[in-house]
């Protein structure tokens, strides 16, 4: 039996809609038009204890809805879900003691007072034992470098500082599962790095199962070995990131700076784009390798400069989205 097992969940929202303008506003005052939005059509997967899973998909694909169902906030229309032997929305109060949730776009900290006060409140809400609480708190303060920032009113913190406090707040009760819904949204490179390292350590040392949604593919690259791609409310890909890269990551990007005109036609050249001071090529390295390609170019023109880029994960995702038409 898997630690997390999701079977055929479906969730539909009823959304009131109307066109802009006074006339339609009045019309909708008397008779509302509703539209059914299928947030999730049919999603199934299972996750083992101790995994880190990246849950990705374009905006509106149903990522957050899934997270909210898994954390017991929303009740799906259909489907089964067993996590740690419990159904989240049925045994909500008991179940949520074992999970931590971070919504990157929301805040659980009290705005006007230092986050340490919120931590104390959470201690009483979760009924954490005093000694254990002190231990966990000290650990989190050390790991996330919070010493100086938990004594400052939350409204005076930067986004990166606040997000570190948010994560600490979600971990005070030592959860077994951590749901992260876009935890790095709006953060700078350094803050992102701190968070990623921390999540990695948490997973390794405490065997916390992590499910994370993000639009930042470097998060996924740094953290998740397994990704679940969701689009239009369905699971489109479920597997390792490596395999995805092998399948789609053989494209190389070369920009060649030259003053001369160049015309190339060879197997493996996917596209060629004229820029101000040269050309940009996309080649398939399975069909033509980079040195052969450069040889070919240098025979024809004088190369002033060359830049070679690997296919980055963002492009892979864009191609995937295109392929699945989502």
């Amino acid at each position: 039996m898997s630690f997390i097992k999701v079977e055929h969940i479906r969730k539909t929202f009823k959304v009131a809609k109307r066109r802009s303008g006074v006339k339609d506003a009045i019309k909708s005052f008397f008779k509302r038009d509703y539209k059914l939005v299928q947030a999730i059509q049919d999603v199934s997967f299972s996750i083992e204890k101790g995994e880190i899973v990246g849950y990705i998909g374009p905006n509106g694909a149903g990522k957050s809805t899934t997270i909210k169902i898994l954390s017991g906030i929303l009740t799906p229309d259909e489907g089964k879900c067993t996590i740690n032997g419990m159904t989240p929305w049925k045994e909500r109060e008991k179940y949520v003691k074992k999970i931590g949730v971070v919504f990157g776009q929301r805040s659980q900290l009290w705005w006007d007072i230092p986050s340490e006060d919120t931590f104390d409140l959470l201690k009483d809400i979760y009924g954490i034992d005093e000694l254990e609480y002190q231990k966990t708190k000290d650990e989190l303060i050390r790991e996330l470098n919070l010493e100086d920032i938990i004594t400052v009113p939350v409204r005076q913190l930067s986004l990166g500082q606040r997000m570190r406090c948010e994560i600490a707040a979600s971990l005070l009760h030592n959860p077994e599962i951590l749901f992260l819904d876009e935890p790095t949204i709006g953060l700078d490179a350094v803050s992102k790095q701190i968070l990623r390292d921390f999540i990695k350590r948490l997973n390794k040392e405490k065997k916390v199962t992590v499910i994370l949604t993000t639009h930042d593919m470097s998060d996924i690259e740094a953290l998740a070995e397994r990704i679940i791609l969701i689009g239009k409310g369905q699971v489109l890909y479920d597997g390792s990131l490596k395999k995805l890269k092998n399948k789609y990551g053989n494209n190389k990007y070369l920009s060649v700076t030259t003053k001369e005109g160049l015309e190339l036609n060879h197997k493996g050249i996917i596209s060629c784009l004229k820029t101000i001071d040269g050309y940009e090529f996309v080649i398939d390295s399975n069909l033509i390798n980079v040195s052969d390609f450069l040889n070919m170019v240098s025979k024809k023109v004088a190369i002033e400069d060359v830049e070679i880029d690997n296919e980055n994960i963002d492009n892979i995702i864009v191609r995937l989205y295109k392929e699945y038409q989502i």
Partner: protein, 267 residues
Amino acid sequence: MKFYFSYFKLRFITGLQYRAAAYAGLATQLFFGLIFIMVYLAFYESSSGKNPMEVSELVSYLWLNQAFFSLFYMLYKDGEIFDLIKNGNIAYELVRPKKLYFIWFAKIIGQRLSAVTLRCFPVLIISFFLPKPYNMVLPIGLANFILFILTLITGTLLMTSIVTLYHVITMKTLNEKGIPQVFAAIADLLSGLVVPIPFFPHFLQVISNYLPFRYVNDLPFRIYTGNIGLQEGLFGLGIQLLWIVLIVGIGYIMTNKSLKRVVVQGG
């Protein structure tokens, strides 16, 4: 139970953060107390008929109204709760291992107790030392005082259950204006915070007896002044408890029903 106290503590800390608001609140209550008493005294002097309350009873009642105003007025809206319904932060309330109804109950009672703690003692102390006839007087007996404290506590619980109820209703309507606001304005009138209940015309007094609002503050205050006797006071305490059970029950069931259909706004 401990987390009720934690919410109180946190709201209290937050309240202390805004010192100017606390001073301003105190000044407002003293100002209104004096104005009300002056107006009533003027009426008393010019009236020839029988007055429904003794002057000393009335003055104490008015001062108690002012001292506990921030605890008992019904138009109270918990901005934080309304915000989290509107912008979807309610998601965080739902990942806590407590029933949502009781989290809100705790938040509201914590907020109101912390607000009143900063105001009631200075108002009460100052009002005792004012010159006659503007001063507040001691309760007429120890038994009255004990019953006053008891009904004040149950009155606080009753107020919280009513206020929590219309916050729960907001989960459905998504807007705190409209019906809840009209409801709260009527509640404020019928609770005796605007005009003491004994001054109401007879039919309104009868109506107010059949509604819960009068039992929030009018009952304990009139027990304190001796306008209501011990026997009637004890009967009132029973009615308070019945209303609390009923309103908490309705709110609790409504919350659980709404949660099945909850939609988190804003993605």
